[in-house]
Symmetry: C2
DNA sequence: CTCCAAGGTGAATGTATGTTCACTATTGCA
DNA sequence: TGCAATAGTGAACATACATTCACCTTGGAG
């Protein structure tokens, strides 16, 4: 019989602090946030970061997962709004705008879009259905399908297109006006006439 | 009377080699290209890079200048084509596509768009009229003006929009198909209906 | 052909940052 | 309260770069 003292309370607390600090700093500086800075802000020593995350990459991944989860929730809410009577086109547009706006304060999204490039809808079967990526992809795919079927967006619009366009959005340092223009122009390009 | 031995032939040759190597490596790796790699590829020692360029930043700037010059020439050619009877809208679209395509093999353009952000048309008076930036901005502004006056693009389209959209284009590692889609969608967004 | 200033060299330096680990501190069950 | 097992600590290590500089090389004027 093995007794597991398991998960000490201070360890849990520190883990939370680390994730909180990492979220802030990665949002602000992207992948360039340093482990020392994160540790300092979390009020722990660097070694502690490594007790919780084997490598920086893993810590960043956790933060990115969070950011994607935020997107997933937005997307699911948009989808619900469509069921509630909102136009699929409007909801997709609003979602797009919201995600681009997030780029202003969350540079983790740039890193995220780099990782999002990988999972085609096919690969999704491999990811746990509760993962942020799976949820986001599922919701956005559904929303896109609805918008397409109503003719609100070009008939050939694909998920990959949206991911690319979201990843390309002006980030951080860019003036808000620039993001506004980006959204305006790209949304115009997504709507209506399909072919060329 | 001062005699200037000035510009030894080997110095000129090496400078050229350095710029050539820097172009290749910066195109491939962007700002992350290392001075050592550039020196090796140029067949000289690191110290020599610093004899020709005070700091890495200056070397990169020289390379970026080249890349922008390429854009300037494309733009001037497009402008000439309009004078020759080509539609301003078509030419602007073709230019846009060509620049995005360049992003595939020239990561210096990403760095360039970061610098391009600065010069508003007003600041241009400060830059030498023969500089790559000045030429590019002049030609593109003119081309944009023509396209606007013909109604080929939305009436509120500005130079800053184009710079932003070019800078946002999928670069390097992205599959060609992705660049194609980007161009297609964005161009659709740039044309026609102005307001919202 | 000589000579020296312009040019080249590359080991060494400085800095920034990820990662490790021998040691100390804390938690929580018995 | 005593005692492991679990956590935390932070100096030390490893690596990757940009940049410097004391010392050679060499082009080309005289």
């Amino acid at each position: 019989m093995v007794h597991l003292v398991q998960v000490r309370s201070d360890a849990q607390r520190n883990r939370a602090h680390i994730l909180g600090a990492a979220r802030e700093l990665v949002a602000a500086a992207g992948v360039d946030a340093t482990m020392e800075d994160i540790a300092r802000r979390a009020g722990v020593a660097v070694g502690t970061l490594y007790r919780h995350f084997p490598a920086k990459e893993d810590l960043v991944a956790a933060v990115v997962e969070d950011s994607i989860m935020y997107i997933a929730e937005l997307a699911e809410r948009s989808l619900a709004a469509v069921d509630g009577g909102g136009g699929a086109g409007e909801q997709l547009g609003a979602l797009f705008a919201a995600v681009v706006e997030r780029h202003a304060t969350d540079r983790a999204l740039k890193a995220a879009s780099g990782m999002l490039k990988i999972p085609s809808v096919a690969d999704l079967a491999l990811a746990p259905p509760e993962s942020a990526i799976a949820r986001a992809v599922t919701a956005i795919t559904e929303l896109l399908e609805r918008a397409r079927s109503v003719g609100a967006v070009r008939a050939d619009l694909m998920l990959a297109d949206l991911v690319m366009l979201l990843g390309a959005a002006p980030a951080g340092e860019a003036p808000p006006e620039m993001r506004r223009r980006y959204v305006e122009i790209v949304l115009a390009g997504l709507s209506g006439g399909a072919s060329r």
